[in-house]
């Protein structure tokens, strides 16, 4: 800060910002820089370049610390040569004072020669105070700035700019305290006229952001009281986060961001307090954005929705967007499941609402399955939904699955869902019968229909496992023997065991033939199938075919 008559204040503020320390540098403690007399006015701009806070501070120290009586013995002044000593004592003070504040005045009083003599006397005199003056041994630190630089080495304009920030921060702090006061009064509720408006909340939020930036610029991250997004949000003032402290030895720590660590520490605090509130809901959204795979956060979100009795359809809308952004995530689908369980009582007695809900869900599922056609968790949710809303015989559901199989005949997830739709429909099946076991309640025409369907799709891709699994599954369910499709299977196998003529279009067909022959007690034929599989057509399962042959 330039002198401009603010000497006292400058000194004071510099002191208040400084912390005792040894961070100074020797260079900054040089005695006076060489005199540079010349045209100047008493402003900071005209101070010599490199005139730092340290230099300024040293000068003030020298001026404002008069020599103590022990330093200049009165007898010296009174005795012989006392006048000279007195003059020597006084002259440099005059010189210094003048040089600092009245650089031009000195020139007016003394001629150049006189000035030179004074400086010479000052510099040579062994008793001159500037040489022996009791100086601070070490410069006091003015603090370290955010980049680790000693504030004492700031040039004066730099220092001025820093002071501006400090003043601004102080003012903001006052305003912020005022806000907190008001908000506390509002919460106490004795004076109903005290209302903190939304606008004031937003202002405070912006203010804290600014304060944090100023604080960071001034002091770096060290010693900062508040830094995180939530710590700066006035909405979270009353929550003391429960920070996670890692012991000396811990396993599998993850290098996550400070934002995530902060958010989790607030989550711990509100879960601990069992708080359910809109801000907690927002917190879960914030964490889910960073890590959508934290099951606890999802459960806590659900708890908030139920506690606050929030609209479940609204949550579906939000969830759809999150699901599309996180295709591989499965907590989302558990959350959805839980929501449906809680939404169901609302719509259960309203067929139109159920139909509407089913349609919305199917639209969304179609959309998300288009992104990832075999996503296990989506399919799992879909089958749950079919059971919940009883959509087994909904023609649209079956059609939707047929479309998917038409698009990719190897999509086993779609095949599996089809089996579920047709054969686990409570209308057509007995409860408690495993999928692999025959069920007499399954209507014969459905079995016929599905056998035909499987055959048709197998013709399209004879080596497709999905179709053969399905065909076998349908046969078992309908208690039809494998022999009933023997002819069909045989159509994929030509000239077995006939050397060059032998051709197999589907190893699954050959396998089925073998089992069919076993069923008909034609072991030689079965043996041939197994050995041809082992020797040529499916060598990687050689051991399996041998094992089957021994078993039969």
């Amino acid at each position: 800060m330039p002198p401009k008559g603010k000497k006292a204040k400058n000194g004071k503020s510099a002191d208040s910002s400084s912390t005792p320390g040894e961070a100074s540098t020797a260079a900054s403690l040089e005695p006076f820089p060489p005199a540079e007399p010349g045209p100047s006015t008493s402003t900071a701009e005209n101070k010599p370049k490199g005139w730092t806070v340290f230099v300024q501070s040293q000068i003030f120290f020298d001026i404002t610390q008069p020599p103590t009586p022990t330093w200049i013995d009165r007898s010296v002044l009174e005795g012989k040569g006392g006048a000279e000593a007195a003059a020597l004592w006084l002259a440099p003070r005059l010189a210094v004072t003048h040089r600092l504040f009245y650089p031009n005045e000195l020139g007016k009083v003394l001629g150049p020669k006189s000035q030179e003599e004074i400086w010479k006397a000052v510099n040579n005199s062994p008793t001159f105070p500037l040489r022996v003056i009791k100086r601070r041994q070490k410069a006091q630190s003015f603090g370290i700035d955010s980049r680790g630089r000693e504030v004492g080495t700031y040039t004066l304009p730099e220092f001025e700019a820093r002071e501006e920030r400090r003043i601004k921060l102080s003012c903001l702090l006052l305003l912020s305290n005022r806000f907190s006061e008001l908000r506390d009064r509002e919460r106490r509720g004795f004076d109903k006229s005290v209302v903190v408006t939304e606008q004031e909340y937003l202002e405070e939020k912006a203010r804290r952001k600014e304060m944090a930036q100023l604080q960071k610029k001034l002091y770096g991250t060290q010693g900062m009281a508040k830094e995180g997004k939530l710590a700066l949000d006035p909405e979270w003032d009353d929550v003391t986060p429960i920070k996670l402290e890692e012991p000396e030895k811990a396993l599998a720590a993850i290098a996550y961001t400070a934002d995530y660590a902060e958010a989790m520490s607030y989550l711990r605090a509100v879960m601990h307090a069992k708080e359910y509130s809109p801000r907690c809901l927002k917190l879960t959204e914030y964490i889910i954005e960073m890590n959508p795979a934290h099951y606890t956060v999802w459960l806590y979100r659900a708890a908030n929705i139920f506690a606050l009795k929030l609209s479940i359809p609204d949550e579906f809308v939000w969830l759809n967007a999150v699901a599309l952004e996180n295709l591989k995530n499965y907590q989302i689908w558990h959350h959805r499941h839980l929501l449906v369980e809680n939404y169901w009582p609302v719509i259960a007695s309203d067929p139109r609402a159920i139909a509407k809900f089913a349609e919305d869900e199917r639209d969304f599922l179609t959309k998300i399955l288009a992104e990832d056609t075999k996503n296990y968790h989506v399919w799992s949710y879909r089958s749950y939904l079919v059971g919940k809303l009883n959509l087994y015989s909904d023609p649209e559901e079956l059609q939707s699955i047929e479309d998917m199989i038409d698009a990719d005949v190897r999509n086993n997830s779609a095949w599996s869902h089809r089996f579920f739709l047709v054969f686990l429909d409570p209308k057509n099946s007995s409860p408690g019968v495993p999928a692999t076991q025959p069920d007499s309640k399954v209507p014969g025409h459905l079995v016929d229909r599905e056998i035909a369907y499987a055959k048709e799709k197998i013709e399209l891709a004879p080596q497709n496992q999905s179709g053969w699994h399905y065909l076998r599954g349908v046969l078992a369910k309908g208690a039809r023997p494998l022999t009933s499709v023997e002819e069909f299977a045989a159509s994929f196998v030509v000239g077995l065991g006939e050397g060059e003529n032998e051709d197999v279009r589907s190893t699954h067909a050959l396998e089925l033939l073998a089992e069919s022959y076993i069923g008909k007690e034609e072991p030689e034929k079965a043996d041939l199938c197994f050995s041809r599989l082992a020797e040529k057509w499916d060598r990687i399962r050689e051991g399996y075919w041998e094992w089957l042959r021994q078993q039969s």
């Binding site: 993850i254 996550y256 890590n291 795979a293 075999k374 296990y376 999928a435 076998r472 599954g473």
Partner: protein, 525 residues
Amino acid sequence: MNQPTLPPFDIERQLKYWKMCLDRPLPHHYLSNEANRMALAWFIINSITILTPDLDESVGARTESSRSDSSVVARTESPTSDSSVVAQTESSTTSKQLISPISPEDKPKLRQWVLSHQQPGGGFASTSSLVFPLHAHEQWAAETGTETTERSGMANAPGTLFALQLLALLADDDDPAGAFNGVDRVQTLRWLKRLQREDGSFGEVLRQLPGQGWFIGGGYDMRYCYIAAAIRWMLRDEELPADQPGYVEDIDTKRLMMYISMCQSYSGGFAGSSRDEAHAGYAYCALAAIRLLDRPLETLPGYYHSELIYKIIPDMSRLNRWLAWRQFVYLDPNTPSVELDPSSSASVEDGDIVNFLLPKSPADLSLLTAEDKSASLLVASNGRTNKVADTCYTWWVGAALANANQSAFLHKNPLFDWRASRRFLLEKMAHPIGGFSKYPGGPPDVYHSCFGLAALGLMLEPGLEHVDPDFAVPLNTVKVIEKARAKLFEQPKRASALALDLQKMGVEMGGSSTPKWMQTLYGFT
């Protein structure tokens, strides 16, 4: 098949990868597994244990006669007995003992870290971020097993499984029986019982939902059924009479088995629920869960024969068939040596092509697998029909086949092509910096790296611990679990005997007859 050549397996490089995972924080992209930190810890410690077999037979678990037996078998039946294999693998996997990066001094500290996740209501939290300071649990009422606050219910089923196994993996060499010191067996089993749903299935967590009471969270997932069976086996003693201290009512095993049996899909594999698609991971879980329900408390590893699986699994032959069909010849999309079926699947994941490529016809495939070419055959496994190759399914499929055939010696399993599977893991999935990736050319991660090692351990890879197919941990660690469990039961027995003596002494000194409450409670007069 003639004896194919085997690629060498660089154990030291693998260990280097795991040392890195042990010493440094995992990179940021593991954030999505932050909730499963205990599992990540298990992957790291289990892998290091598999990689550093204890060749010094004098140590605790090794001196067991049963262990020596299985070691003998392991040695004589190991792949190294094929002379050609020895030549191939000797350079990389000699009998040189690798030093575990986990020092004996660190083990108690790491166990302490694991134990710090134990919840007052039983079970373990699955991540440190759900561990609250002690004062948070003040309202816990231990006696009744009920609780009034949300915070008491942070225990998680997978977290508990992995924590218990970590304690065994990190047991002190000179005190394997002390591995479970500090585990609240009774509360954990009580909590486990509360995780079971009406239909017999298990969830992973218990939470109070406002206005709805207790909710069993975690979806319908065969993994939790397996985990429940595993925790039960690790902590339960069937013999303990109901009137003894330390007795806990069992889970409903009947309903659990019923639930599992209903999850076999029409294809033969198992799904998470009766409605869903068969999945190799769930098939493994279903089989291992049933086996663990009748696994003896102390077993000769690899030898116990479960009768229960034949009773519970509706169609065992279809399960075998489905598991055998999970294996397929892996065709590299970049160097197609056969004509490919254009409709077979290949997709791009993080810039790499993952695939389930099929030859245009079986004839093309038969050319590829002809005898003279089979030496370089790569066999991958998928988790579902027509899905892509993935390291972990070599484990899930291989271990499920080992269990279905009741033998821990996977290299003798007729349904599993261990040579070509091993070749696939080492040539396509092992990463140059160590570890295994999810798909060929991908980056390694702790999950796939751990199960890649477990699969090799199941194939008796020289230089690795032999792995128990029910648990994916070394057989030696299972022995530690058995001892640690036994010790947990000694304590209450000792304590109750002491209490009885004191009471008797008090009665005698008082010169009166035994009070009625004492008669009813302890049954003595």
